[in-house]
Structures are given as structure tokens and as C-alpha cells.
């Protein structure tokens, strides 16, 4: 990635490769209220260009005559008015669906929009929406669509991602929140967090916490982090009128929707911490009925709404999800193909790093939650993490650079927001040095870094 003037090979190289596929384009006519669904593998790319009409990709409108390239995506281009698309490249599968759930999504948006308008007039807080549902029910797509429509309507919605399996504006395993004032990036899903150079779509400013576990049910970190996130988001909304009236939408992992015997502790926790006003349940009848029984008639009247799962929701295999996560991590360091980023390789001595890792027992069970708020209390404070010396165990893992000092309590480290991520490329136990990939040049931070058990190792990110 050395940038030499005139040697702009990095940018040019992919094009000849793509050329044969993109040169043969085909035309796809879509009649009104239909969508073109496609799956494209990570190895290939699919280009879509809107020729006539209007079309949108999860709520974000396609610009006319602009070619969008998708790779490793399962998506759908929907049209309200009918359109003609020019499609190039190879898709794993593609078809036109006439039955879509876009009307529901649009209705949900307009219902929320009415609340936002009211909130704006009253200078009150806007709708606080929680989207729940099983895996692969289209939660993130719905959240994206709602956010995109809200942005399109001139709102500034905040989106909170509590799903560690896929990142939003950051790597998987992180929890993020961001206010969206500019359009979502169609190719990248959400957009990009700030980079040091220009970005083709306006960058989004995420607040990032490190979760580092696979499932919400796994450990003692989830709920305290939800609390922390809720605190930050609420504080932001309190001070930011534009965000306040627009409210927020929370995306959740499918795992929280499983519950135990009709009790959804994590969902209930999210609802109470974020003071959720509207719950959108995707797909699951049972979850809907359980939640509406609990919340519809309660004094604070939370609207529980069931939306049908879109026929376009496909089960994403573990392999695909893994590839998706790798792509997200790669994009964090290297950017997407369009805007290449130059991460910085450096090495650090063992003593320079204060690495913490969630303890096995904390990660493995949630015993502590069963006996009340112990996990929040002092007793559990310093039992969350263990200090690790770099070893081959942490190779190929991500380290979250927190804002907390290594000397601070474990709760403080857990609740600290993340400045960025490091990737452990190599550990030389003999020389006691670690080779790291950092997003930008500079000294290795002296703050506490947390090594996650999730996402899974990403081999060969470097070299």
C-alpha cells in the first residue's frame, strides 16, 4: 500500500479483472412494487445501474446512472414506481420478487415519522424503536430501511447496533451507535467511519464499545454495556435536538429473541434501559405474543408491532457470516476497494501492551445474573477480565483500544468506549515483541486494550 506518485496500481488492478464481467450487461425491467433480489459471493461482483425509474436498496435510493458494485452481498433492489436496471457480473442467485414487505416498512416509517413530527413540535423525545426477531429475519435490513427513510425525510435518526455478529460502522463484536444525517452507503451497507481523507459518501461518526463475545446470552458484559450505551445515547439525544426528535432504532442479535420459557431477560433489559416506546417484532409469532402480552397493556404502553418476515430473507450460512465478518474487519483496516486505506504495521514490546481478556468463566456462563445485580456491584468488579501476556493465543485476534487506563477497575475498562482496533499479526515470544496492524501511524496506545473472544480469528489479514 505504498503510495507512490504515478504508481496507482492498487486502484487500477481490479478493473481489468472485472472488465470481462461488467462489459456484458443485461437489462432487468422491474414493475412497480417489485424487487430484484440477488446474492453475490465474495469472490465475484455484481454491478447494478439504474437506467430509468426509481429504485432503492434497503430504503436508500439508487442514484440515476451510477454503477453500484456489490460483492459478498445478499440484497434487494426495490422499486415503488418501476424501473429498468442494467446489471453486470455474476450473481449466485437472482430473481424478481413481487411480494415484498416494503409497504410494511414504509408504513412503519410513516408511523414513526408522525411521532417524530409530534416530538419535534413538542420538543419531546422521538420514537425509540427496538427491532427484535430471530436470526435471518431481516432485522438489520429493516433497521437500515427505517434509517434510510428517516434520513430521506430530513431526520437524523440514531441507530444502535447491539448485534455482535455483524458490525455497524465498525468491526463485528462491537456495539455501536451513530446518528445518521447523511445517506447510507449502498455498497458498504451503512457507510464509513471517519478516515483521514475524502470519502465518497459522508462519513458517519460511531460511538463504539467493545463486546468481544459471540452471543448476548454468553456473559456478564452484555447488560452492563447495554446500560452504558443507553446512557451515552440518551445523553446525546438530550443535548442534540435534531437527534432527540428523530429518536433511535436498535438492532439486536437474533439470539436475544430466543428467551427462556417466554422470558426475554435481555430484551427486557434493553427495553428498560433505552426506554423503548415501540417494539417491532420481525417474523416470530411467539415472540410477538409474549412481548405484546407483557408490554401492550402495561402502564407505559409500549407499542408492540409484528411485521412479516420478507420472503427475501435468506439463511446466511456460517461460512457466509464468517466471510462477512472478515470483510468488515478488512474494511476497517484497508477500507473498501474504492477508497483504499493504509493501515500501519508496527511492533511493540510485551511490556507496552496491557491486554485484558474476558475471563472464561464470565464468558461461559451468566450465573452472576441470576442472583441479582451482582455483576454491577463491587464484588464482581475486578473479576471480569484477566490480564494476558501476548502469546500465540492472541495471534490473528483483534484488540480493542479502550479509553480506560490499565490501572482502572474492570468495570471501567468494560464501560470504556473504543478508539480503534489493533490486529495481532505475529507474536514473537522469544523476543517478547508483538507485530501489530494499527489503523494509523503512531505509538501503541498505553491504555487498556481488550482482547475479544469474538469475532473469530482472522488469518492472513497481513501479508
Amino acid at each position: 500500500m505504498i503510495a507512490l506518485p504515478g504508481l496507482n496500481l492498487g486502484a487500477q488492478a481490479p478493473e481489468p479483472l472485472n472488465a470481462p464481467t461488467t462489459s456484458a450487461t443485461r437489462t432487468q425491467e422491474l414493475s412497480a412494487n417489485t424487487e430484484y433480489r440477488f446474492e453475490v459471493s465474495f469472490a465475484r461482483s455484481l454491478t447494478i445501474k439504474l437506467v430509468t425509474g426509481t429504485a432503492e436498496y434497503f430504503g436508500t435510493e439508487l442514484a440515476p446512472a451510477t454503477t453500484y458494485t456489490f460483492s459478498g452481498a445478499k440484497g434487494a433492489v426495490f422499486t415503488w414506481h418501476g424501473c429498468r436496471l442494467e446489471i453486470g457480473g455474476e450473481a449466485e442467485s437472482e430473481y424478481v420478487a413481487e411480494e415484498t414487505q416494503m409497504m410494511s416498512a414504509a408504513n412503519a416509517h410513516f408511523a414513526l415519522e408522525a411521532l417524530r413530527e409530534r416530538a419535534h413540535q413538542m420538543r419531546d423525545a422521538g420514537p425509540r424503536v427496538l427491532v427484535v426477531g430471530p436470526e435471518n429475519a431481516g432485522k438489520t435490513s429493516l433497521v437500515k430501511t427505517l434509517a434510510a427513510y428517516a434520513v430521506k425525510s430530513g431526520q437524523q435518526p440514531t441507530v444502535v447496533n447491539l448485534d455482535p455478529r455483524q458490525g455497524m460502522l465498525s468491526v463485528p463484536g462491537s456495539f455501536t451507535a451513530a446518528a445518521f444525517s447523511s445517506i447510507l452507503d449502498i455498497e458498504e451497507g451503512w457507510g464509513s467511519s471517519p478516515i483521514s481523507g475524502p470519502s465518497p459518501t459522508p462519513v458517519k461518526m460511531p460511538l463504539v464499545y467493545h463486546y468481544g463475545l459471540r452471543d448476548a446470552e454468553e456473559g456478564t458484559v452484555f447488560r452492563p454495556l447495554v446500560t452504558r450505551m443507553a446512557l451515552a445515547v440518551t445523553s446525546r439525544l438530550e443535548d442534540d435536538p435534531a437527534s432527540k426528535s428523530a429518536g433511535f432504532v436498535i438492532d439486536t442479535p437474533g439470539a436475544v429473541a430466543q428467551g427462556r420459557a417466554g422470558v426475554y431477560e435481555n430484551i427486557e433489559h434493553i427495553i428498560s434501559e433505552f426506554s423503548v416506546t415501540t417494539i417491532l417484532v420481525l417474523g416470530s409469532e411467539r415472540l410477538y405474543s409474549d412481548l405484546s402480552r407483557k408490554y401492550s397493556n402495561s402502564a407505559d404502553a409500549i407499542a408492540v408491532i409484528r411485521l412479516d418476515k420478507s420472503g427475501g430473507c435468506v439463511d446466511r450460512s456460517d461460512t457466509y457470516m464468517k466471510a462477512l465478518r472478515h470483510a468488515q474487519i478488512r474494511a476497517y483496516f484497508f477500507g473498501n476497494s474504492e477508497a483504499g486505506l493504509a493501515p500501519h504495521s508496527q511492533s511493540a514490546g510485551f511490556e507496552e501492551l496491557s491486554i485484558f481478556r474476558v475471563k472464561e468463566e464470565c464468558a461461559g456462563s451468566d450465573m452472576q445474573f441470576n442472583d441479582g445485580g451482582d455483576a454491577y456491584g463491587g464484588a464482581a468488579e475486578d473479576t471480569i477480565y484477566e490480564r494476558v501476556t501476548p502469546s500465540s493465543e492472541i495471534v490473528n485476534k483483534l484488540l480493542a483500544i479502550t479509553t480506560a487506563a490499565p490501572t482502572e477497575g474492570h468495570a471501567a475498562i468494560r464501560d470504556a468506549s473504543v478508539r480503534g482496533y489493533l490486529y495481532v499479526a505475529e507474536v514473537d515470544e522469544g523476543k517478547k515483541r508483538v507485530k501489530l496492524l494499527a489503523p494509523q501511524p503512531g505509538r501503541v496506545p498505553s491504555t487498556a486494550v481488550v482482547c475479544g473472544r469474538w469475532p473469530e480469528d482472522v488469518a492472513s489479514l497481513v501479508g
Binding site: E98, F110, G197
Partner: protein
């Protein structure tokens, strides 16, 4: 009240009772009495109001003239006392009197909105809010009447002759209008009832229709739905690419499911059935379209306009609706009831175009006569307002009136057709077609979005959903009461309920598209078609331009650190379309510095060593670049610090870490294009996107 008051009031009452014709001297006399007894104004007002309310209809107008004379010649305190009950007084009288009297009353009402002639006082006779209340009520009556007529046409639609016969053959029921002549204040969510005393021949009222219609046989209805589904499926099989058909089919299936699984109240059933009728491909030519183009309502006569013959059966259903809609605005042919049938518009677009064509003709105050339901005589074209001609005399501008009555109640056309009979007690809050039309109205003069067929379908298939009592079309008599309860905010009524999420509301989609027609071709962001919108777009395009930095990749762009919690909370999003001087929180500077850093430049140094020296931080060479602003070759993103030239971004990164303040470079502020630096006003001048 003192005894003197009572006395004066009694005298006044006596005098009033003698007033039976519009006699100027008598009215002047009464006015004089009122003027001389202003201290008893309250008593006199009460007497007058009571008299207007209770007198025989034909004597009411003179008493109203007394009221008029009093308020205009005396003014306060009579305006105050009479103003309180004005609504009730007026509306009760209005509901009882005949058509010419109504016109006269409307004339009065108009004058009340204006100042007293030749008066120094510029205020209207009665405060505008009083008169506008009445105006609103009158408008509602008018629109209800318009609806009545369209319903009647729907009713007359012999979609299923078997069932239709059940009521079509019913002899005209005996008049029982007096039973529901109880006037009710519409602000209490109901509409004044009315007696048709002036009509010698008793005629059925919607109430009776309602009763008849109320006995909807669920099984028959299901059967009808089933048949309709079958036909639609056939049509769909023939033409499977038609989304509107598919949508219709979906809606029908949904409806069927609902009918199978749920018990609906009779009104809803009735509404559903009428809906189905309207949708059903007609076995006989559709009479629905007749009134729009031909003078009399020829119900089921073979002399149909030829238009029907070229309607493919598949498209029949949406067509019918369109025609219904077309009826709403009654093309000019109607005002001149001639039997010459205007050729029916063959396609929807035409109809829509008609609908949206502004009607220049003045509203025709055609008297409304409840139809003697379709007897054979109905097939005779009668130009005179004979009872048989009812559906024909749909007042022109009906649609416009409907819409205006919702959007701008006080500005409705003054001349009013006779309001139809009302059915006082029916459930409110069921949206109807006029409401839907009104919903569409805010979009501009052409309500239907591009996708006409589906919009229409949408308008008609806001199917009754479980949980929400919502039926989309004006059907049966209940639609009339809905008028009065129609929400004023017709823009966005989506409720947060599961059922509501499934209703198609394509008319709202235009808020995402047509509302902001000005699209950025680079990223698809939309802007308003206002000067502000254009200005924003200009800045937005400038932003795009700046972001297309070909050298960005060479400089080694990297991911920035995320915000800390505190920074994030204090951060305010920066809209690239906002003027550049948007203040942001303390940390917002971080986001902006980035922008500024790469705008910094130095002129390419003359010194050879310096010109070949790389950036001391990243060791990369600088790229000379022509700068239009500097009119010279420059190094962009460069900064001169202590005799060395650094990349501005590198320096910034370094200095931030080291805590050194970035020196301000006086010559470094450019690279910005016009709209960016200029005030909004000048930006507008320069670019017109």
C-alpha cells in the same frame, strides 16, 4: 332575568310571530324594538333564537332577516348573544328549509363574514370563527351529498343481480323521515338530520338504505368474494405481470381470510360488500360510469355507451373505480344533462386527467333529490331535476369541494347544493374515499402518483383490517357521519398497530420521492425544489467535487480513531449541505479540521532542495497540482512549518499527538468553491441546480 326583560321579550315574541313574509317595514320595526331595548338584549336574543328554531320552515327566513338586521344595525351586544347560538340556530333552520331558502341563508352567511356595509368598523358582522364553523358544516353536508350520489351509483351497480334484486325490487319504503329529524350539532361528531317536508312524494332516505344494506348475508358475501377471487385469478393468470392485479388479488385473499376468521360488525360487512361490488367485473355493463358521461342514470339498460365493449375484463375492476372517481368531479356534461354520451375515457390516465382538470364552471346548486331507487323510469333521460334524475345532478366540483372541505374549510364555494338526508347515529372514524382523496391532495394538483392503477386500487382496498375499524370506500350511509369526524390532519395517519402496517398506502410514498424532486445524480440524495433546496444541492455538489480528490489514495489515507464517549455525546452531525460556518461542539472541530487540512496548500517552492524534499513525516513526495485559485502550481494538503513542508494532515496528526498547535497559514485558505465560502444568497445566484 328581570320581569321587564320578560315583558319586552314577550312583546318581541308576539311581534315576531306576526312576521310571516319578508316584509321590510316589519323587520325594521323589530330591529327598532331591539335597538331600544339593548338592556334586554339577552332576553330578546333568546326569544329570537327560539323563534327561528321553532317556527314553521317557511317563516324562518324572515326571522333570520330580523336577526341579520339586528346584528348589522345594532351590533353589540346582540352579536354577542346571538353569536353564541348562531351555529345551532343557523344549522337547525338550514336543515329544515327548502332549497331557495337555503340559498338565501347562504347569502346571509356570506354577508356575515364581511363588515357591515358602510360601517366604519372593518370587522366582520360575526367573528370569523363562528361563521367558519357553519361554513365547515355546510361543506361537509355538500361533500356528503356528493358522496351519497356516488354511493348511489355504487349501489346501483348490479354486480350480482341475485342479491341486488333483493333491494332493487323493494318498493319505495314509506317515508319516515320525521323520525330522525332531530338536529344535532355536528361538532358533537354528528350531522343534523333532516326532514324532507317539502317533498310531497316520500322518498327513501339513506337511513333506510342503510337498514336494507345492513342485512348483509355473510355467506353471500363470502361467495361473492370467492367469485371475485376466481375471476381475478384468471385475469392474473392471463396477465401475470400486472402488479395491480396481483395486489388486488392479495387484497382479496386477505379479505377472504378476514371474513372467514372474524366477525365484522354489519356496517363493515356492508362496506365490504359494496367494495366487492365495485370491484367485481360486471356481468352487465357497468352503470357506474353512466352518470359521468350520460345525463340520466340508465341503470342496466342496453343502450350503454360503446365504451364498455373494449374494456378487457381483466382491467374492468380498476376501471370502474376510476369511473367512480371520475363521477366525483362530474365532467361538464353533467351540468347540461343531455343524452348525448360523451365517449367514456378508455384509459385510466384520461380519467385521472379529467379528475384533476380544474373545473372552471361555477358550482351548480342543483337540488338534491333522493332517488326513487332504480325504477324502470330511471332510464329515461330527464333534463329537469326530476326525482329520477338524481345521480345525474351530482354537483360539479364535487371532488374539489370534497377536497376543499377538508383542506380549507373556510374557502369552500359558497353556493351549496341541498344537503342530503342524514343519518344521525352511525359509528364515526371510518376513513372513506373522500378522505383518501384528501390524503392525496397535499401532493399537489395531481393526486395520483405515477402508478395510477395501484394508487386507485390502494384507494379502494384499504381493506378492513382486524383491530382497526377502517374501511376505505364511502359506502352505505355511514360514510356520511364519517365526514364530520374526518381527521383534519389528512397527511399521515399511519397508526402504530400491526394491522395498520399491512395497509397499502402508496400515496404516502410520494413523500419520499416526489416531495423532493431534485435528485443528486451522484449519490441519490434528494432535495426540495425550493430555492433553499437548490442552494443545499449546490453545496452538496461542491462537497462531491471536493471529495473527488484523485490524490487521496496516494497520500495514504487511513482510518481515524473513533470518538470517545464524551466527544460523541457532544458531537453534532455536520450536514455537508449546511453553510460552512455551522458551529459545532468542541469536538466537532475534529471532523472539520480534516476538511480544512487537505484544503491547505503551499506554492511549489522555488528552492530545489525543498522542492524535492518529501514530507518529513510520511516520507512521501508532494505532487504539484494546478490551482485555479492561486493561479499557480501548488502542493495541496501541505503546510510550511519552520522551513520544512509537511503534509497538512500528517502535521496535524503529529501535532495533535505532540500537543503543538497547528500554525495558521494565512495563504492557505482556498481551494474552496464559490458556494462553499459565499453566503447562501450569493451561492444561489451562482448556481441553479
Amino acid at each position: 332575568m328581570s320581569s321587564i326583560s320578560d315583558e319586552v321579550a314577550a312583546d318581541f315574541k308576539d311581534a315576531l310571530q306576526d312576521l310571516k313574509v319578508n316584509s321590510r317595514p316589519e323587520i325594521s320595526n323589530l330591529t327598532l324594538i331591539a335597538k331600544e331595548n339593548t338592556e334586554h338584549a339577552q332576553a330578546i336574543s333568546t326569544v329570537l333564537e327560539n323563534h327561528i328554531r321553532t317556527a314553521r320552515p317557511e317563516w324562518r327566513l324572515p326571522s333570520l332577516y330580523v336577526l341579520d338586521s339586528i346584528v348589522k344595525n345594532i351590533g353589540t351586544p346582540y352579536t354577542v348573544y346571538l353569536g353564541r347560538g348562531l351555529y345551532k340556530t343557523f344549522m337547525e333552520a338550514y336543515s329544515k328549509v327548502d332549497q331557495p331558502t337555503r340559498k338565501a341563508m347562504e347569502g346571509l352567511l356570506r354577508t356575515w363574514k364581511q363588515p357591515v356595509p358602510e360601517s366604519m368598523d372593518s370587522r366582520p358582522v360575526f367573528p370569523l370563527e363562528m361563521t367558519s364553523d357553519i361554513e365547515n358544516a355546510l361543506n361537509k353536508m355538500r361533500s356528503v351529498q356528493a358522496q351519497m350520489q356516488s354511493q348511489r351509483q355504487v349501489h346501483a351497480l348490479p354486480a350480482r343481480p341475485v342479491i341486488a334484486a333483493a333491494w332493487r325490487n323493494t318498493p319505495t319504503p314509506p317515508q319516515n323521515g320525521a323520525q330522525f329529524g332531530v338536529p344535532v350539532d355536528p361538532r358533537a361528531r354528528q350531522v343534523p338530520g333532516q326532514q324532507f317536508e317539502q317533498y310531497p312524494q316520500p322518498t327513501p332516505t339513506p337511513d333506510q338504505f342503510g337498514q336494507l344494506m345492513g342485512s348483509v348475508d355473510l355467506n353471500e358475501l363470502k361467495e361473492e368474494v370467492g367469485k371475485l377471487i376466481a375471476t381475478t385469478q384468471q385475469a392474473f393468470a392471463l396477465n401475470y405481470s400486472d402488479p395491480s392485479l396481483q395486489q388486488k388479488l392479495n387484497a382479496l385473499l386477505q379479505l377472504k381470510r378476514m371474513l372467514d376468521t372474524q366477525t365484522l360488525p354489519p356496517q363493515q360487512l356492508e362496506a365490504v360488500r359494496n367494495q366487492i361490488r365495485a370491484l367485481a367485473p360486471p356481468p352487465a355493463p357497468t352503470p357506474v360510469q353512466m352518470p359521468a358521461f350520460v345525463a340520466p342514470p340508465i341503470v342496466q339498460t342496453p343502450q350503454q355507451p360503446p365504451t364498455l365493449t373494449f374494456q378487457p375484463p381483466a382491467a374492468a375492476a380498476p376501471m370502474n373505480l376510476a369511473q367512480m372517481l371520475a363521477n366525483f368531479q362530474s365532467p361538464p356534461a353533467v351540468t347540461n344533462p343531455s343524452p348525448a354520451p360523451a365517449p367514456a375515457a378508455p384509459n385510466l390516465a384520461d380519467l385521472i386527467a379529467r379528475m384533476t382538470t380544474p373545473q372552471s364552471s361555477a358550482p351548480n346548486p342543483a337540488p338534491f333529490y333522493p332517488p326513487s331507487f332504480p325504477g324502470p323510469s330511471a332510464s329515461t333521460p330527464v333534463p329537469a331535476p326530476a326525482p329520477a334524475a338524481t345521480p345525474v345532478v351530482a354537483p360539479p366540483n364535487n371532488l374539489a369541494q370534497l377536497l376543499s372541505s377538508f383542506n380549507k374549510p373556510s374557502a369552500a364555494p359558497p353556493a351549496a347544493p341541498t344537503p342530503p338526508p342524514f343519518n344521525p347515529a352511525l359509528p364515526p372514524h371510518i376513513p372513506n374515499l373522500s378522505q383518501l382523496l384528501a390524503h392525496a391532495q397535499p401532493m399537489g394538483p395531481a393526486p395520483p402518483p405515477p402508478n395510477n392503477a395501484s394508487w386507485l386500487l390502494n384507494a379502494l382496498s384499504g381493506l378492513p383490517n382486524a383491530g382497526t375499524p377502517s374501511i376505505a370506500t364511502p359506502i352505505g350511509s355511514e360514510s356520511m357521519t364519517r365526514q364530520s369526524s374526518a381527521p383534519v390532519n389528512v397527511q399521515n395517519d399511519v397508526e402504530l398497530t400491526t394491522a395498520s402496517m399491512k395497509q397499502p398506502r402508496l400515496h404516502l410514498i410520494s413523500r419520499l420521492y416526489d416531495a423532493k424532486p431534485n435528485i443528486c445524480t451522484t449519490c441519490g440524495r434528494r432535495f426540495d425544489a425550493t430555492p433553499q433546496g437548490r442552494e443545499k444541492k449546490a453545496r452538496h455538489m461542491d462537497w462531491h467535487f471536493k471529495m473527488k480528490d484523485p490524490d487521496a489514495a496516494k497520500r495514504g489515507v487511513h482510518r481515524s480513531w473513533y470518538f470517545t464517549e464524551k466527544e460523541w455525546i457532544e458531537y453534532r452531525e455536520v450536514d455537508e449541505t449546511a453553510p460552512d460556518d455551522t458551529a459545532n461542539g468542541p469536538s466537532g472541530a475534529a471532523g472539520r479540521v480534516k476538511k480544512q487540512a487537505k484544503d491547505r496548500y503551499v506554492l511549489v517552492p522555488q528552492d530545489v532542495t525543498l522542492a524535492h524534499a518529501p514530507c518529513p513525516i510520511c516520507q512521501e513526495k508532494f505532487e504539484p497540482q494546478w490551482s485555479k485559485d492561486a493561479n499557480d502550481f501548488v502542493w495541496m494538503d501541505a503546510i510550511k512549518v519552520g522551513g520544512k513542508i509537511y503534509h497538512a494532515t500528517c502535521w496535524e496528526e503529529y501535532s495533535k499527538g505532540a500537543g503543538i498547535a497547528t500554525p495558521s497559514t494565512p495563504d492557505s485558505v482556498l481551494g474552496k468553491r464559490t458556494a462553499e465560502t459565499s453566503t447562501p444568497a450569493s451561492g444561489k445566484k451562482l448556481r441553479a441546480y
